[in-house]
């Protein structure tokens, strides 16, 4: 391909978009639809993952301190607890505070009016960095001098971990399937556009055009359409996400759902949409045109 052709070929690529307006419109619409579906599902999966992660963080270990120890000795154990690897934070709860919580938890029931603070133990509420290691950390806590008993909800923590694992697998599988389906749909749309122009390609071949000369305008066209699709999909995704988050915040009085700001997803979304648009445009054109080159 000669260099003086390059400008012409690039121009032809852009011209093709308008010349084959309907097919261009169809290709952009399909790209937008597929990217919005994949993007929305990815954003949803990411948020669900974070929500499960947050719920999991609420799993804590209660560490009961020997009642024979003085207040000062009991408080000093906190330093040792904090030194353990997997401990994120430990909070000291005195006997008196524990009693207040106990009474409050039982709606100030008179049946518990006889319970004294001295009947209870000082304790620590320990939250962990990684709840999958709850059992090991619990064992370590039990070994500490002055600790008489611990209470940890392994099953709950393991349940959350399982939910999170399943969520990861299902998300990846669904995103992969959606991506493959999107590529197939887009590739077929590009093929239809190519079929529309098979006579033009045959004439180009007949008058002695090289494969590179024939391909470049289609690749430029595919790339441009892919990028237009990606930009539109990104805008729709952003607006749709913000609207959804706002709506959920309005109706979710209990704040059961917490969504991250779109800004947090901005860079990965730009990267994924841009790469997907480019990939789909170029690969879609390249593979579709091959069929029509054998003339």
């Amino acid at each position: 391909m000669k260099l003086n052709n390059l400008g012409y070929l690039l121009k032809e690529g852009f011209r093709g978009i308008f010349l084959h307006g309907f097919m261009s419109f169809a290709a952009v619409c399909v790209t937008v639809a597929c990217l919005v579906i994949v993007g929305s599902f990815s954003a949803l999966a990411y948020n669900l993952d974070l929500m499960v992660e947050d719920l999991n963080q609420t799993s804590e270990i209660l560490v009961y301190i020997d009642s024979d120890l003085s207040d000062a000795e009991a408080r000093s154990i906190g330093t040792k607890i904090n030194l353990l690897d997997n401990v994120l934070q430990s909070t000291f709860v005195s006997r008196e505070e524990a009693l207040e919580d106990f009474v409050a938890d039982h709606d100030n029931d008179s049946a518990f009016s006889g319970v004294q603070a001295s009947d209870l133990r000082h304790r620590y509420v320990v939250s962990l960095e990684d709840n999958t290691k709850m059992k090991q950390t619990d064992e370590q806590l039990k070994q500490l001098p002055g600790v008489v008993k611990t209470s940890a909800a392994y099953e709950l923590a393991e349940g959350f971990s399982t939910i999170q694992d399943v969520l990861h697998i299902v998300s990846f599988a669904l995103i992969a399937v959606l991506l493959v389906i999107s590529l197939l749909i887009i590739s077929n749309t590009v093929k239809l556009a190519m079929y529309d122009r098979k006579d033009e390609i045959a004439i180009m071949k007949m008058v002695g055009a090289t494969n590179g000369f024939i391909r470049l305008p289609f690749i430029v066209e595919g790339f441009t359409l892919g990028m237009i699709g990606a930009v539109l999909a990104f805008g729709i995704e952003w607006a749709g996400y913000d609207a959804l988050v706002q709506r959920v915040a309005e109706v979710d009085a209990l704040q059961l759902f917490s969504f991250v700001d779109f800004q947090e997803l901005l860079i990965p979304m730009v990267a994924v949409f841009g790469a997907a648009g480019m990939f789909v445009g170029i690969v879609g054109s390249w593979t579709s045109i091959r069929k029509f080159m054998d003339v």
């Binding site: 003086n4 052709n5 004439i203 007949m206 008058v207 002695g208 055009a209 000369f213």
Partner: protein, 229 residues
């Protein structure tokens, strides 16, 4: 020069299209290729333009050996052979000027050359006043002239016309044949594939007849060779 030596072409389904064709068309010759449907005429054109490869035998076209041509050489072979079809195969969305200029751009011609050459060729085929029109706005004869202009614009050494008058009335057919003869007079080899016996008789040129994949008649070959000598 086009040279076929004992060419056999059979298709995957087992059909034998050519069964040992030997013929030679010299540079600057005007030649008719005639034969009934299915006789192998289209296969000969496809072999000349590199769309097909011979099963056995050798095919030489303008310095290229088609039996061992590489895929990436085929575009360069096609630039030496202009092809004109019965159904014109023009690009409707392009103007007359653009249809011809397009063939030059494909071979990497500069815009200045294109601006000079396209009007010259359009004048040669009698379409100088219709550069801004689209093919659909023209008659069949004019569309075929445009197809000839496109085939001619890159100055190929050979023009192959496949049933060029098949869609035209007798008067326009004669004009097209006269135009092809004029092009031949300028030194271009012309091979016309046709069913039109009246035109073949009218122009008194060499006639190669094909039937059932074989050359069954080659009239005027000796005279042409004598002239060449």
């Amino acid at each position: 020069m086009i040279q076929f030596t004992d060419v056999v072409k059979s298709y995957e389904q087992g059909n034998v299209a050519l069964n040992g064709v030997t013929m030679q068309i010299e540079d600057g010759e005007f030649c008719f290729l005639v034969g009934p449907s299915g006789s192998g005429k289209s296969t000969i054109i496809k072999l000349i333009t590199g769309e097909l490869k011979p099963t056995s035998g050798t095919v030489h076209v303008n310095g290229y050996s088609l039996e061992r041509i590489r895929k990436r050489e085929i575009p360069y072979l096609r630039r030496t052979v202009g092809v004109v079809f019965q159904d014109f195969r023009l690009i409707d969305k392009m103007t007359v000027y653009e249809n011809v200029a397009f063939a030059m751009r494909v071979v990497g011609a500069k815009e200045k050359e294109i601006r000079e050459r396209v009007p010259y060729v359009l004048e040669l085929v009698g379409l100088e006043g219709k550069m801004g029109r689209h093919p659909r706005e023209m008659s069949g004869g004019e569309q075929q002239r445009l197809a000839i202009a496109r085939a001619l614009v890159n100055n190929p050494s050979t023009i192959i016309a496949d049933e060029p008058t098949g869609n035209l009335d007798p008067e326009r057919s004669f004009e097209i044949m006269a135009l092809l003869q004029e092009i031949n007079n300028l030194g271009t080899t012309v091979l016309v594939v046709t069913h039109a016996q009246d035109l073949v008789e009218l122009f008194h040129k060499r006639v190669i007849a094909i039937d059932d994949g074989l050359v069954v008649k080659d009239e005027g070959e000796e005279e042409t060779n004598d002239e060449a000598e």
